[in-house]
Amino acid sequence: MAMIKAQSKTDSPAASWDPLDSIFCPESIAILGVTKTPGTVPHDIFENILTGEYTGVVYPIAPGKRSVSAVRAYRYVSDVEDDVDLAVIVFPASVVDKALEQCGQKGVRGVIIISAGFREVGQAGAKLEQRVTDICRHYDMSLIGPNCLGVINTDPAVNLNASFARKMPAAGRIAFLSQSGALCTAVLDYARGKGIGFSKFVSFGNKAGVTEIDLLDYLHRDEQTDVILLYLEELRDGRGLIEAAGRITRGDNPKPILVIKSGRTLQGASAAASHTGSLAGEDRICDAVFKEAGVIRAGSIEELFNSAILLAYQPLSAGDRLAIVTNAGGPGVMATDAATNVGLTMARFSEQTTKALAASLPATANISNPVDVIGDARSDRYQSALKSVLADENVDEVLVILTPQSMTDIDDIARTICDVHRRVAKPIVCSFMGASDVASGINILQAERIPHYVLPEWACQAMADAQRVRQWRSRPKAILELLPVDKAAAADIINDLPDGYLREDQALAVLEAYGFPVPAYRLCRDADEAVAFSETIEGSTVLRVVSPDIVHKFDVHGVALDLGDSQAVRAAHERMMADIAQAEPDANVLGVIVRGMIPNGREVILGAKRDVAFGPTVMFGLGGLFVETFKDVTFALAPITAATAGRMVREVKAFHLLEGARGTPPADIENVEQYLVRLGQLVADFDRIAELDVNPLIVASAGAGSAVADVRIRLG
């Protein structure tokens, strides 16, 4: 039996039995709650195991019945004379706990609870689910579900279809994990239509025991699996997932992970008061952190499998230089556009390749990339063109496009591609455009595991995803370096304060403790103090009201800028106090922050938010008043390395402004990166910081630093 360690649980004590082997590779299974009524879940699961040619022994537990489908039935699992590795429970939710207790006492190691009626139905169900979890924990049983479709293992040594899917899928090298059971059946049908097989197929439902993280780690070790697909609705431990993804997607035994994460709404974001809070919906954070952890996020099932088959069937290319061979000019140009748009490079052929193409193709053919073998091409032309481009050192991968003309020998061309494919180690993907005329050719390609795409654009998207996998694996692992900060000084401020917004002077002091470039300032209680401090400032002065009751200072005229002399400072102070007294009569005004005016520069935002699933995150983007309008921001999990900070800064569109657009000198980018690292350190050190905005950080030209113009910190 091909278990993870290829060992039986009964081997020597040194043998390592993975707890999840009891789920995927059981030697005996009891189905608890089997009925004789076809078309019901309790009946069909039992039938699926029987007809799926499961290699172990199965025991139907069906009180009151002598047999089910001619197999001797038992009243209780405890009546089974032999050991039971796996229990599949299909009893109604109300008696699942009783069944579990018996399983625990029997020594069952793994449990799949198919039954619904738990957390998904409300509080009473959640209570029941907790009890189920407790029982499994007490007896040390691995639990999949409840509320799931079940588990499939296509390994011929096991042949387990412990699910109520209609058919057992073909064996393959792709594993699919899904929180949604209903989606599983659709995916199985879709994959069957495309000739895609699976190694493992798991619907994990409410994940009351085994989580997607446990399953990812198991599949990482699974010799039958090369690519892991995950459909996820709810993230409970985002950070754990990202850490697991980091372990799995590179290193000694790297496996790509492709994820569909649904629920792309900005839940709760509209209620957030900070810029970062309103931008940091779970979906945006997911996008950013998945990318940073080497996880490919797909937008649809089609996209998911398009990329999965390329990663599972073909070797990773050595680079991103693509050659296109086509018998149709238009689709060749469309494919070139698509390839360029997704970041692939159109290969430049060597002189030798160009000569070889010129020698083997008609004079009317296009011998540069995309190679157009012309509409009347037959398999011989495809063969010579393919051999030439694949032999070129400047080509990393090839896309073959075919449109069916009357003289196109589609099946022969497909066979030719297969033949060439067997002789090279470079990835080849195909797009035989059309449907019925090209169907048999597509079947020939799929039988050879050459990825086929209805549209060349899909092929390009899949190749771009494979490039991301390649780049991720080759990215050096960055080491987190802690910068010298005064954590104690920040703790003195943060630890003593209640939840809510820090006053500006407190927030500035926290930033100062972490080495941020805070301009010299003083909290002045009255106009005289403000005037006196302003006289020590070179250049013009800024006044900013300080009150625990005022968060949005500009809204109450609580900010006065560019005050040239003492008279202007005094007048602005008087005006400000009068306006605030009118706008916020009950506000407790403690004074004003007085500081110098920061010279113009490029405005960026450095933000942070403690996310429910991911914990502390940092954000970077174009700053100022229009942050929410342009949404030109990116996220990462805190703390971050200098390398991550560098990538974040370069990822936003505003990077071109920082680089120096239209004759402006480059901004001090290194300086910004350093403060992003410091910000990550700050929010990782203090989990009470719920939201933080440094907006804007005004960045001067390269080498001239930056300055914090405004900061907002919320504890909670």
């Binding site: 709650g33 069906a62 009180p63 009151g64 009243r75 009893f91 109604p92 109300s94 008696v95 009783k98």
Partner: protein
Amino acid sequence: MASSNNVQERVVKVVCNVLSVDAEMVTPDSNFVFDLGAESIQSVQLVAAFEYEFDIEMDNEKALTVQTVGDAVEFISQYLD
């Protein structure tokens, strides 16, 4: 008024008929689903059979929440009192 023993005997008889189980399997603690293998449709059939046997009309929603034979005896007895 029917004695509780008499009610229990009749309940067991109905249970054996509807679920096709032997009487020795049925005790007051027997859970209709877990111990006697009642399927969801049979739970509805049981309620109907109890009503017929005892010539009563029960609150079906409440009746379907009854889990054991003993609880069924108690539940039916309320209607007989």
